[in-house]
């Protein structure tokens, strides 16, 4: 397995510097928070960047898919599995979590595919504005369905993972944190392997680069795009599971703000670049947590949006994206 060092060195360098800076500034406790939050953002950002890479559409509804995922996971845990509190038996815990994860990811994947099939595919050749507006419509539909089913107030999610913490480098890290981050990293690596080494992954990459050429080479564009949406939604669903388990409460309008921040992360990392999306997610989480640490909680959102505007103005290709030379 050959590794092209030049291509790897930049993301690795940026990622390491980012993580070290975060740790230095935040201290162990908040660092763990930032990592978990970063995991959530990264998973969602991956979805944004994948979809954008392949159909050049910012899926406004993606944040709401994350939100629906969190509700789906909650529903599975409470209604289907009858859970209400921490599960102490490790084997049981692992099994239950796997079920919840798997079911949520698959369920959201199908929902994502469904949305693409009926709301976006017919508009693939329409003027740019049309799918953007449709996406906004879909976003509202999702939010309203959830708020009608579960009400507009925050909903509690059973915290099935015990909240025990262990001491580490002067602070306390929860098992939950570790689990979440490890899970996210595993998913991201799995994604990279899938995209890089499988036939379908190759189809995705070629479609993203040049759709017509890919079609001429025999790639089934519709299927490829559908799979992309499936994966993106599944990852967002995973993020939703983490959100529910970690924060303990979810709300129908969660998708809006989290989606916006995850999008910022995707842009920061370089839209279309999956590694960048992951790194971007952790950086944005850091910005948000740091703002809270400094005492400016309400301004944390403003801070994130400012990052977005700054990136788009000064370096629209993001940290790992390519510089385009065109000016119109």
């Amino acid at each position: 397995m050959t590794v092209d060092f030049r291509r790897v060195i930049r993301p690795v360098a940026i990622g390491t510097i980012a993580l070290l800076t975060e740790y230095a500034l935040l201290g162990t406790q908040q660092f763990a928070n930032a990592l978990t939050l970063g995991a959530i953002y990264a998973l969602i950002a991956l979805g944004y960047t994948m979809v954008y890479g392949i159909v050049e559409l910012i899926n406004f509804a993606h944040g709401d898919i994350f939100m629906v995922g969190s509700f789906l996971a909650m529903w599975i845990m409470t209604t289907l599995l009858g859970l209400s509190g921490p599960v102490t038996n490790l084997l049981n815990l692992v099994g239950l979590l796997s079920i919840v994860m798997f079911a949520t990811m698959v369920g959201m994947g199908f929902i994502g595919m469904f949305i693409e099939r009926f709301a976006y595919r017919p508009l693939r050749h329409a003027p740019r504005l049309a799918p953007l507006i449709t996406a906004i419509g879909v976003s509202f539909i999702l939010q309203n369905i959830i708020s009608s089913l579960f009400g507009p107030s925050p909903v509690n999610v059973p915290q099935i993972v015990p909240l025990d913490k262990f001491a580490f480098m002067g602070g306390k890290i929860g098992y939950l944190n570790v689990f979440m981050v490890v899970l996210a990293v595993v998913l991201m690596i799995a994604l990279q392997l899938f995209v890089g080494r499988t036939r379908l992954g190759r189809a995705m990459r070629s479609t993203a680069q040049d759709r017509e050429a890919a079609e001429l080479m025999g790639v089934d564009i519709n299927q490829t795009i559908a799979i992309t949406f499936f994966i993106a939604a599944a990852l967002a669903g995973a993020g939703g599971v983490i959100q529910g388990l970690y924060f303990g409460s979810i709300k129908f309008d969660l998708g809006f703000f989290v989606g916006l921040k995850a999008f910022t992360a995707a842009v920061l990392g370089g839209i279309g670049n999956t590694t960048g999306a992951a790194i971007g997610g952790f950086i944005i989480a850091f910005v948000e947590v740091y703002a809270t640490v400094l005492g400016y909680t309400q301004w944390s959102e403003v801070a994130v949006f400012t990052v977005l505007i700054l990136v788009l103005v000064f370096r629209p290709s993001g940290l790992l994206g390519q510089q385009l030379g065109e000016r119109a």
Binding site: I58, P122, A126, P127, R128, I133, I136, G137, F140, V302
Partner: protein, 380 residues
């Protein structure tokens, strides 16, 4: 701007249309005068008169006017220039707060209403330029997100800078307009109604003039093909900025009026719901078509403000099983969402599209007209 030489036979209707086109500004003003006079009469007829008393209707019309103004302004940005602005409510907020700062006990200033209209428009336009300057270079999708972010930042700033803006509680007791000594009151909606109609009519005249001008063509060119527009000499950035600024100024105008009527302003009034509603009005009404957008805005607002409540009451009174427990007012955004998606899939040009737009969006591949080749070769 088509040539004057038309091969159409002059039917009476055609002649009337031609004359209306030539004296467009007058037509617009006359049209508004007629509509404004007719509306209060129509609502005196049952069943409309049973929904609510006439003064409430007129009050509602005045409020609808605010949204019509907002929709017309956003139409310049989205419909004419093709820039997707998802944070339009921010400029509405700026106009509103500008008036609150200029005419309330909070700041102890009492600048008269009419100059404040101008001030609100200018301040909003300035902020539109400041926002647009760095961001209008971006591709459509990015611009949409940035404007969305801006639409969130502005109310957040108003919320958090409580020393200047009284935070969540907002600023109240704002002074109502006064014209030549005649004081507007909360009890009588008619002066507000008349003022709004005047503002709308004048704004519409201006917008139509812009659309048919060199600038309007430049906007259309940018919307059609930005690279070709730039290669024809159009400074795309300044042109887009102008669209942005004009749209923002209209929102500022609307903000001043709305605040002068509500006499209260608070950050909660300017969330994404507002931006989204106005966008829905523009899209559903027919992007690019000024009167279409105005009509769409009026229809949607009336549905939202009046009909949905009526539906609730209707089903409640009749004790219809499922329908009576649905709160239509709450579900309106779901309906908007569905309507938007359905519109984009089925009729993207909106309910009242310009013919140009309908052409644009229903293009088929065999569009080459069956025209015989030109027989006059040049000079040769």
């Amino acid at each position: 701007m088509t040539t004057a030489t038309s091969k159409r036979l002059p039917s009476p209707w055609g002649r009337l249309r031609a004359r209306a086109h030539d004296h467009r500004s007058l037509t617009i003003l006359a049209g508004w005068a007629i509509v404004a006079s007719v509306l209060p009469v129509i609502v005196m007829i049952p069943p409309l008169s049973t929904f609510q008393p006439e003064s409430l209707w007129i009050d509602g019309f005045a409020n609808a006017g605010v949204f019509i103004l907002l929709a017309m302004g956003l139409n310049v940005v989205v419909g004419l220039a093709g820039l997707l602005d998802l944070g339009y409510a921010a400029f509405f907020a700026i106009g509103s707060y500008a008036y609150a700062f200029g005419a309330s006990p909070f700041t102890n200033l009492q600048i008269p209403f009419w100059p404040m209209l101008l001030v609100g428009a200018v301040v909003a336009a300035t902020l539109g330029i400041l926002l647009g300057a760095p961001t209008l270079r971006l591709r459509g999708d990015y611009l949409a997100i940035v404007t969305l972010g801006f639409g969130e930042i502005v109310p957040a700033v108003f919320l958090n800078a409580s020393a200047f803006t009284l935070g969540t509680n907002g600023i109240g007791g704002i002074y109502k307009p006064e014209v030549f000594g005649f004081q507007f009151t909360l009890e009588n909606p008619v002066p507000y109604y008349v003022a709004m109609v005047a503002i709308l009519a004048i704004t519409m005249v201006f917008l139509y003039r812009l659309q048919g001008s060199r600038l309007g063509r430049a906007w259309m060119a940018i919307r059609e093909d930005e690279l070709a527009a730039a290669s024809s000499g159009i400074n795309t950035i300044t042109t887009k900025l102008l669209a942005f600024a004009l749209g923002a100024s209209t929102a500022g105008l609307a903000g001043v009026f709305a605040t002068s009527k509500l006499t209260f302003v608070g950050p909660g009034q300017f969330g994404f719901q507002v931006s989204f509603t106005v966008l829905a009005m523009v899209v559903l009404g027919g992007m690019g078509n000024i009167w279409g957008v105005a009509t769409g805005a009026f229809v949607i607002y009336t549905i939202q403000a009046v009909l949905l409540k009526e539906l609730n009451q209707f089903f409640a009174v009749l004790h219809v099983p499922i329908l009576q427990s649905i709160d239509f007012v709450q579900y309106q955004y779901l309906l908007y969402g569905v309507a938007l998606v359905a519109m984009m899939l089925l009729r993207p040009e909106g309910l009242f599209p310009s013919s140009r737009r309908r052409q644009e969006l229903h293009a088929t591949s065999e569009d080459v007209a069956d025209v015989p080749p030109p027989t006059e070769a040049l000079g040769a």
